[in-house]
């Protein structure tokens, strides 16, 4: 059988984008080993928990959700970065997003398994997960959660993989000097992609459809996650605002995570040309908008509680503002809103280092925000707030497992960048070409009339 010749759109940055795939350096091995050690410590801690039960954690009546569930909500939030950058901005026609899409989608892909792992860790006995399937009932928001998160994880994998297909085929055809098994892996994963114009047409179409679906999913997932809290009548949780509040926070921390990841990739893999400063400036504007949206939600939430003046609600309210959790609460507000907003407005423009600092602060703050939403309510539950008050101090087991979850996510991400291009070659090929006329002719031949007329329309619009 004669194999068809495969076409790959040309990208002027191909060499620099593919450079990380050629070699695994000693620094990589050092990083991976370090992360594996952290994972090992986490595995040991989990083993201890498995043998001795949840008694080795700081959780006790009436506090059943602690650091693990904080991690779960946080990881789900991080996962929204990919869908936001890739699907929502795709639908909005934001062309600048193209070089960022894969880096953002990879965050989604590698966060979600650790969100699920957080739940399993919180359950104590992992086999209990099966009860959700065997005895699942619609009255429980947990079943909505399982449905939404499973579908989201599955759809994210497919969305990510489909957009990766042409690039895997490109690596299969162009890269030489790699181990045989690695080449074989690309052959299998490329599914025989040949780069026919019809294949590109259909791929674009399917990604457009999936973008709509993923946008709906992203709203559903974080809303449903928030409803696990909101559908109880516990003070601080039982509010209609909790869904949009969680969603906005998720997109905010996810976008901040994209800034951090891109800055690291840009520096480590010398991708200054492929990831220009303009991309960071666009993300900076988004972050400013999200930070303002987040503070608006905060004020709306707490002002309503304050004026409602319901005793049970006020007990939790004062715990956050002046009580046991005030340091975390105000620290969180400073880290999520005050310092980042100042940095983004005053220092962030054209300055990646400041933007990364803002991104790190936002993410630390958002983790604390999840914690301060979950734990104070549990220490003062509605029925017991006058009779019994819980105390929660996370133990080393919880911290070790938490660190291991983050290490696992970083490890998967780091390994991925050494085997696959982290900037989509085929999607950025159109916008990175030098010779416009040459590209226009080729585009028409490759992508057909439909794409060509769309590009022309965009071009005319830009000239007006």
């Amino acid at each position: 059988m004669v194999r068809q010749r495969t076409f790959h759109p040309e990208n002027v940055h191909e060499e620099s984008i593919l450079a990380p795939i050629y070699k695994i350096s000693s620094k990589d091995l050092l990083l991976w080993s370090g992360l594996l050690i952290i994972l090992g410590v986490g595995a040991y801690a989990y083993f201890q928990q498995l043998i001795s039960g949840l008694g080795v954690t700081g959780m006790n009546r009436p506090i059943y959700w602690g650091v693990y569930i904080t991690n779960f909500v946080f990881f789900i939030g991080l996962a929204h970065s990919g869908t936001f950058i890739s699907a929502i901005l795709r639908l909005a026609g934001a062309e600048w997003r193209k070089p960022l899409t894969r880096a953002a989608e990879a965050i989604t892909l590698f966060s979600l398994p650790f969100a699920v792992a957080s739940i399993v860790a919180d359950m104590g006995r992992p086999e209990l997960v099966l009860n959700m399937v065997i005895y699942g009932r619609f009255q429980s928001p947990l079943i909505w959660d399982i449905t939404a998160v499973s579908l989201y994880m599955f759809s994210s994998v497919v969305f990510f993989y489909l957009s990766l297909l042409p690039d895997i085929a490109l690596i299969r055809d162009r890269i030489t000097g790699i181990p045989k098994w690695q080449h074989r892996m690309y052959e299998i994963l490329s599914l025989g992609w040949q780069g026919r114009s019809q294949q590109y047409h259909r791929l674009e179409k399917v990604l457009d459809w999936m973008a709509i679906f993923m946008t709906m999913l992203v709203v559903t997932v974080h809303t449903v996650v928030s409803w696990v809290f909101g559908m109880t009548i516990q003070p601080g949780w039982h509010t209609a605002l909790i869904g949009p509040f969680f969603l906005l926070g998720a997109i905010y921390s996810g976008t901040a995570a994209v800034v951090i990841v891109l800055a690291i990739l840009r520096r480590v893999y010398q991708m200054e040309e492929a990831l220009p400063i303009d991309l960071f400036n666009s993300l900076r504007k988004l972050l400013i908008v999200f930070s303002l949206g987040w503070i608006y939600m905060m004020i709306a939430e707490f002002l309503t509680i304050f004026y409602g003046n319901i005793p049970e609600e006020m007990e939790v309210f004062w715990q956050k503002f002046t009580g046991d959790f005030s340091v975390i609460f105000w620290g969180m507000t400073i880290l999520v809103f005050i310092i980042p907003l100042f940095i983004l407005i005053v220092k962030g423009k054209n300055n990646i280092r400041w933007m990364v600092i803002a991104g790190v602060l936002i993410n630390i703050g958002m983790w604390l925000e999840r914690y301060v939403v979950i734990v104070p309510t549990e220490t003062r539950p509605r029925l017991l707030y006058e009779l019994a008050q819980g105390v929660y101090r996370p133990t080393w087991v919880e911290w070790a497992i938490t660190l291991a979850l983050f290490a696992g996510m970083i490890l998967l991400y780091a390994i991925f960048t050494r085997f696959f291009p982290i900037i989509p070659l085929w999607e950025t090929a159109e916008s990175l070409e030098e010779d416009e006329q040459k590209v226009a002719t080729r585009r028409q031949r490759i992508f057909g009339q439909r794409i060509q007329s769309r590009i022309k329309k965009e071009h005319d619009h830009a000239n007006q």
Binding site: Q4, R5, F7, M132, V133, I134, Y135, G136, R137, F138, Q139, S140, I143, I146, T147, S150, L151, F154, S155, V158, L162, L165, L191, G192, W193, R196, S197, Q198, Q199, Y200, H201, R202, L203, V206, R445, I446
Partner: protein
């Protein structure tokens, strides 16, 4: 059993929720599989080896 009782029992009995989770995932898997096949089949019938020359 009246139909209203049947519908009610679907929502309040343990079990159907799990069935729906599995059903949703299987449907999604089927759709994604068919879409992937459809993408890969694109242009297969009109292969022209000189197309890009």
């Amino acid at each position: 059993m009246p139909i209203s009782e049947l519908i009610r029992s679907f929502f309040v009995t343990s079990g159907p929720g799990g069935v729906v989770v599995v059903f949703v995932i299987v449907i999604a898997a089927t759709i994604y599989y068919l879409l992937t096949r459809w993408i890969l089949a694109g242009g297969g019938e009109e292969q022209d080896s000189d197309r890009f020359n």
